[in-house]
Symmetry: D2
Subunit: 140 residues, 4 copies
């Protein structure tokens, strides 16, 4: 499977009042929610979201998150969050780009990294378990 | 001024119920709040927190945040967040270490980057304005 | 104008991971966000949302919120929030009903009350200002 | 046992930046967190907080929350939340008063209601289970 065919997803959010701070922009911490909604849309596409992860015996905690905010988002603005899986072998890495839904202007870039944790043994796996390959339709 | 004397601050938080997710750990997005409380304690020490920033004519938006979560935090756990300013000339960079308040075990590492924005001109400054040097007690 | 014709709005939310607590249900405090999204959809219908309120010289703070939660909502559940304005003369009262979007089962009931505050005088008005009647298409 | 001797607790919170909205006041939905921190401090006093509740086989979901906000709280303001148990037989009712920590000015009043749910049977109890009486030091 070429990296080109790794799953992607796109969601649109209208910035709600409760996410805007007194500087009239989205408070930087709220972006973690936007990323999560896009990430879950992506994981839904491969039928491997939180519920299925748990049923498979693995938790996939986020162990790293990085966000760069070159431009702020404002109250009522419609923003598009595009999530794209870029790594899956040793760890699950997802890249995100947030743009203005109307103009396409780039606002924010981010990535998250998750690793598989065996829920019974409470141990981090050295690499992704076969179930992820299966969900991705890739031979391990 | 040696980097040794740049401001530092330390706060302790007891993980509240509403920050814990269904995996029984602090949801990764909530750490942005913990960092902010420590950052504000640090900025209070140099009398240059949000109010004073605004009065000085500058906003200091967070333009980058990176968090690494090697170990989770749990409901009721007392965690210590230590913030340390590490850059101030071109941008304001603060490093954070989160540890268990009782054992000192390292849980999380993070940094944030802020830049000065002239609120009238709505323009990002190429470097920190004199007011920051003044607050830090450093000749620009 | 009969009360029947007061504005209503309906939104659908898919419960995100970050709103679910360790009891595997939506944490009760997050409902304030759901109500707000529905309330803003309602206020958009009469072109009197936060921006227009501010431009009209009035803030409309929420001075009361009551929520009853007979049934919990779960991760991934699609819930419908229906908001209906029920008072507008002395105060702006909105009633909410949250149901499961698929089955129609009733989950939550709530109301919020807002009052007009003159932003210049920083004073609460004894009754709604003419602008609200105008937006509602009602003679004051 | 007279109502006078039911448990009480008091906490102080310094309003953080991330709880303030663009009207420069605490967004009304964030108060649910403040109430919870005070409620947990109260439940800690009788050694019957979330963990002990779970171990006792009962969940105690909040089934009602009402908040009245006569006065707003502002960034950096130190507010005191006082929680007082007022009912425990059929349901667990807690009343809250939020005041300015410095002046004692009353800002907010609230109450929450919780009921016991048998976690195995997934059924609401018609009245509080013996464990609550025991924790309160009252003969059922």
């Amino acid at each position: 499977m070429s990296p080109m065919t790794l799953p992607e997803a796109e969601i649109v959010i209208e910035v709600p009042f409760h996410d805007v701070d007194l500087m009239d922009v989205v408070w930087h911490g709220h972006y973690a929610k936007y990323l999560e909604i896009a990430r879950c849309a992506l994981l839904d596409k491969i039928a491997y979201n939180y519920r299925e992860m748990r049923e498979s015996g693995f938790a996939w905690p986020v162990i790293e998150m990085k966000i760069r905010y070159p431009k702020p988002a404002h109250l009522g603005q419609r923003i598009k969050v595009r999530a794209r899986m870029t790594e899956y072998e040793v760890r699950l890495k997802i890249n995100y780009v947030i743009t203005d839904a109307a103009t396409g202007e780039r606002l924010t870039k981010a990535h998250t990294v998750q690793v598989a944790v065996d829920m019974k043994a409470q141990e981090m796996l050295p690499g992704s378990p076969p179930i992820l390959y299966q969900k991705l339709g890739i031979a391990p």
